[in-house]
Symmetry: C2
Subunit: 291 residues, 2 copies
């Protein structure tokens, strides 16, 4: 962050993105058709999705250069932060390029030709089933069957040509596996949003960047967090997120995750330089435009 | 917190707990044998568990006086905070009485008489299956089958007398459903701890209380969180947790969850009084002994 971003790199990156020859490969955790797939389509239109079984694999693929980027969920308005992804952002050599808020819409999806009155079992991830309780209350003869993954449950229902079953997943899963949406928007709470990050191996700070995500650690003494936050308060820099996470295997030591409403300007650079004086370590996770 | 706890109430509560006539009814979210059941056994030995399908039901039961207390998970060292429970602690009329850290140990459990070499399918909650990947790598012919609940998967395997299946859950689930532990401690990462709260309708501050959990909201202006935290820093009060959560339906407004390493002493009372001056609202979630 302290050094000015290389103009050359930015132009180069822009050319890669706009070139008709290059299709961006974007890794996601989960099956094709997952909510991360929907988010990736919004963030990198026309990209090729590379599904990975585990989050760790997604980060490995970026570090190894096997994909151009990845799209990962970082927090959900109902369920909170995805701690594993916060931890991986600190541990791995990656940078946030953009953020995106996606409304989570659950749909009832079945094989083509299947009618609602034929459905007696509905497959999905336990969290999705839980978020559609009103549906199961209304159709109380329908059994909720837990499955590994939302998109995976659609794949299962379609590939097995099940005539008495359906699955709950996002719209993208219906498109990928050629399922039919029997009912759209069956989630109980419409205020269900997930924040996604587009991450990349290379640090890049675009001209419109006005938000910065950082992680830092301070000494375990009274007032140390206060002193760390003073570097922002003294410069009237607003924070939009703060979260402490215990460090693995080091009880009573914490990493703090903070989002600032500032890009790569002088006040932010000074604040981060100042933070470097009072913190044990600071990592800039990304400088990007507010969604 | 500002008022001195009533001695009468404390003695009364203690008598209730030690009385041979009263068996404490403790609500948990999930099936009998869940990790919350194990935690409740540690926190309230000899209690009667009241299983509830949803977290909201657990809090309702306390508010209605249908149970004496509840034991709820609040954060896990690998997965982070349970946002729904943080939100419910603020929304409901309940107080934290104690905290407890439980090591999460996953066990392979089958019906009595079933041998390891007979097992071809293993049921459990997707998170538990994910935390035992090394087991599935070693026994690669064994299929991982997602289920609603860890303890529920043991109940299923035993009640159906499955001879070619097992389930992954805590030790308590084996005890409740009379299953046999085929392999103990099959989780990949031993640094897997969950922090539980014992919550109650009545506010109670014991003599050994040296930790306070609070939630507060500040105005959405630069430096407001800093000003709020200054009330603790000025009095050398250590914080062990801080987390911001967006307020439902109110974009850009946040509730902060903070744990202080202080009980009901003069400095803490002054700090919380001071916080009341600078914050929009403050709620004391509990004052209790550090685990």
């Amino acid at each position: 962050m302290a050094s000015t971003p290389s103009c050359w790199k930015n132009i180069c990156f822009h050319r890669l993105l706009t070139s008709k020859l290059l299709v961006m490969k974007v890794a996601i955790q989960g099956e094709l058709g997952a909510f991360s797939h929907e988010a990736a389509n919004h963030m990198v239109p026309g990209c090729t999705i590379v599904p990975c079984a585990r989050s760790r694999n997604v980060f490995d693929k970026i570090e190894q250069g096997a994909v151009h980027a990845a799209v990962i969920p970082i927090e959900n308005s109902l369920a909170g932060s995805i701690a594993e992804h916060l931890d991986l952002l600190v541990a791995c050599d990656v940078f946030i390029h953009r953020e995106f808020y996606q409304r989570i819409v659950h749909n009832l999806i079945a094989a083509p030709g299947v009618k609602m009155n034929q459905v007696s079992r509905v497959f999905s991830h336990p969290v999705a089933l839980e978020q559609c309780r009103n549906f199961f209350r209304r159709y109380h003869h329908v059994e909720a069957v837990p499955f590994y993954d939302t998109a995976g449950s659609v794949k299962h229902v379609i590939e097995q040509s099940l005539r008495n079953a359906a699955a709950i997943a996002g719209r993208q899963a219906a498109a990928v596996y050629r399922g039919k949406i029997l009912k759209a928007g069956i989630e109980d709470d419409k205020r269900n949003f997930t924040r996604f990050f587009l991450i990349n191996k290379r640090q890049r700070i675009g001209g419109r960047a006005n938000k910065t995500s950082i992680a830092f650690q301070v000494k375990n003494i009274p007032g140390s967090l206060f002193k760390a936050l003073s570097v922002f308060a003294l410069r009237d820099i607003s924070l939009t997120k703060i979260e402490s996470r215990p460090m693995r295997g080091r009880p009573w030591e914490y990493v703090f995750y903070v989002d600032l409403l500032r890009g790569d300007d002088e006040a932010a650079r000074n604040a981060l330089h100042h933070l470097g004086e009072v913190a044990e370590f600071v990592k800039i996770l990304g400088v990007y435009p507010t969604a």
